[in-house]
Amino acid sequence: MAGLSPSERRLQKELMSLVKEPPPGVTVDSDVIERNLLQWLINMDGASGTLYEGENFQLQFKFSNKYPFDSPEVTFVGPNIPVHPHVYSNGHICLSILTDDWSPALSVQAVCLSIVSMLSSCKEKKRPPDNAFYVKTCNKNPKKTKWWYHDDSV
């Protein structure tokens, strides 16, 4: 692990444990990630028995060199963005652990698990009520959004 920054060393360990014990439906291409540990693409399957069964999603994680003191920037990317009350059509996710409630004890694995669980508890596929306005006016980086967390039901 010589030559890696502290952030990259932790990410290298996380990658190894994610490959060994991935949350259900989560897969990564570790060869691609190892070339740039600061940006990950993660494949996520919709859990069976939920509204997203049979769908596939891609999550992008971007890490700064302050990780894990600074939270990762996590967005859905690619052709299929889940239709969910907390996921905007541009892939931004309204999830408190990604900003205000981030802790350095969390991990890629923990974030994936939260997102799988957020999708799985969804009762009705719909976009957030302010989707059209938000995607027109927001910053490209979801961490720049002052999120307003008010709905704990999904």
Binding site: P6, R10, K13, K66, P68, F69, S103, P104, A105
Partner: protein, 85 residues
Amino acid sequence: MKVTIKNWVGVATWRWVANDDNCGICRMPFDGCCPDCKLPGDDCPLVWGQCSHCFHMHCIVKWLQSQQVNQQCPMCRQEWKFNNK
């Protein structure tokens, strides 16, 4: 037979007594050091919070310094207070 000891070399091992193997912040072993240090030992000590969670001192201080409002334990989110036992 009578043996006379002319000299001897003492060898000792040490380890931190923590309730976990790895630091929850940097994920490095407690018996190693935080990623900013080169050598484990007293120069890279462990500290405990009153909530009983334990981290490399350098890791938890870095986290607390990055938090402007609430100073919380990364593991249990209780208010972080050093346990000076």
